[in-house]
Symmetry: none
Subunit: 205 residues, 4 copies
DNA sequence: CAGTAAACGAGACGGTACGTCCCGTCTTATG
DNA sequence: CATAAGACGGGACGTACCGTCTCGTTTACTG
């Protein structure tokens, strides 16, 4: 799905079906191998030569579709995006717990957190990667908007509360545990984060 | 063997003066250039050849002191550690504000945050780098222990409160802003983080 | 196969007018560009891609008409052949002087001598090119036969004289100057060659 | 021998023995393979990658010693030079016959004639190769000077006779047979060339 | 104060990867 | 059916860097 969109994005003029078929096949093979390599050995371990070797796609062809190794990585990374649905449990606590729980679980089990630091690092210097990263990032912060909005309507949150601060208050500590401390992301910790955030959000009477 | 001695040189003042002198001179020159390169072009821009070229120290010598490019980077990064003093303003809020304010400032102005993601990424796979990184990390989390302890004595914090959760609650959102959301780390945001944390720490009566 | 047909197209007027027209147009365009490229940058500078680019003829089409880059070059070169008329000045000296003078002039001013070494080189290994080259070569040696024959009738040349040796005696030194010694092909030199050859041809009384 | 000189030419400062040893070994291996390839498949068949593969010398190292494929070829070709001794049979005819006979034999059996057209072609555009070629060329024309000079002293040749014309008169037809006609370089032909040249050189009484 | 062992410089070397150019094949749509 | 358009696998080019490996040359302590 994400991939299809990518294809379309790339070939805006819609070209001709057959060409797209061949192109898609190549790109698919290349991106698959790229992601595999990325997960196995990190972004640094992805070399165009190796991708060519493993995918059976000629290096020339790879460079026909992506102007540089970097561009290939960006494209591959853009496949990582997970589009979480917005939970609706009826209460702010329930919604936040669902979001935080899901994130905590992903941080521990999914493969994309392995790669994220590489991206952040690359984004520090490469604006193109930065853009991709921004898109990826908005993926896991987007559900918070609707959740807070609903809570506002229910009177659980002050009208003035900034959403991005809530996101930071929940996602921040989780990410911190994952990358900056290396302590476990257990239920107790996640509950603490939610409790803290809720305590903070409690509307002043 | 050479390595072992090198290690010792680093940790302890001196074994044999002469050796230390020459070794130190070389290492110093190399590390200086390495850091400069790192800040200029990121970790990716640090190549042993370039370091040798700029520092005037032969590549051979560099490899005599560090077993790999990676090790050199780690060593250079370890110089970045800032050992923050423990603030003592008399109140928990004051102490946390001091710590958070200092960190926020550093995140925006200091040069080491530029490099951190590279380290985290490398740490994801290289245990040696992971160790160095852990040491570095403990630098900015260590002052929280004493601060919380004092607050506990003053009755501002429940006895059961886990320090690492407090660190996560404060440092987490700050880091999040720096690397994951790129929104400004302004005073308002920092104050929000402190408020939220305090709200959470408030001992249940 | 394609070649055979191509050959026929060249030799005969038309099977089906329209087809021949299109084929001829393509071939014409391709060969023109090929020759231009050849003269501009030498045989090494002729790449099928570049010919396609400049001529507007698709690479596919080029390969339909010529099985390889090499074949294209050969074909292009074969256009270089100049069919010199047989001079008839009344004397052997006059005839040979005319032939040698013309050749000397061409060697210095015409564009095909630039390319000849490439062909010779290629001919060293590629029999197809060798054949084309032979055809080309026979072009400038053919007039010597009639000239010598006439001289024989006039008694200027011994009956036993081998024509090919005369050709070698005249063309050889000229070519030598052009490619092997790079000294100028001036009138004096050409006259010397003719004198030498005549001295040699003088029939023993 | 030729090789030794080359080495010395390359490393004028005489450097250090061991380094030269290593360098010489590499260069030797590379040049040997290069020449082999050149004879097998012509200059066009020499690729740096292939040379690296066959010689076991890394491509990097090859490029350390020669700035380009072209330079490598030039160097390899310079090994082809045969330094013919100046014959002294007592008569001009004998000397020329010796020289021409030797050349005719080489043209048919030696390996360098295989490569010469490639060189001439390359020389047409590359001045560096042109220089090497000039050096090579002077190799087989140099003995004619002394031979003619001696003949002059014996009164066999006019004082005004230009040496280069003699060279052209002998070498020219031989080369012509080799590369431009493809007829055999038999004894009869060589004798004819010598006779013709002598007829021409006979001093006017 | 000479001898010695380390640290050092210089740089050759094999190797992997980069990104580019060209070759010749192929597939499909268009006239 | 010739053609335009262009993707594709493959090979070579020349460059940058990695980490290894000689070798001779300081340098400063020791005997």
């Amino acid at each position: 799905m994400a991939e299809k969109k990518t294809e379309r994005d790339d070939a805006e003029p819609a070209d001709r079906a057959d060409v797209n078929t061949r192109v898609r096949r190549s790109k698919e093979a290349v991106l698959t191998v790229t992601l595999r390599l990325m997960f196995e050995e990190g972004i640094g371990g992805v070399s165009v030569d190796e991708v060519a070797r493993r995918s059976g796609v000629a290096k020339t062809t790879i460079y026909r579709h992506w102007p540089s190794r970097s561009a290939l990585l960006v494209d591959a990374c853009s496949r990582l995006s997970s589009k979480p649905e917005v939970p609706d449990t009826g209460s702010l606590r329930g919604d936040l717990a669902a979001l935080a729980g899901r994130l905590a679980e992903q941080l521990e089990t999914a493969r994309w957190p392995t790669v994220l630091p590489s991206m952040i690092d690359a984004a520090e210097r490469d604006p193109e990667i930065a853009a991709t990263y921004a898109r990826l990032r908005s993926g896991f912060s987007s559900p918070y908007g609707p959740v807070i909005e609903r809570a506002r309507k229910r009177g659980e949150v002050a009208r003035t509360q900034d959403v991005s601060e809530v996101v930071a208050a929940i996602v921040g500590p989780l990410f911190y545990r994952r990358w900056f401390s290396r302590e476990p992301l257990d239920k107790k910790f996640v509950k603490g984060v939610i409790d803290g955030t809720l305590a903070r959000l409690k509307p002043k009477i």
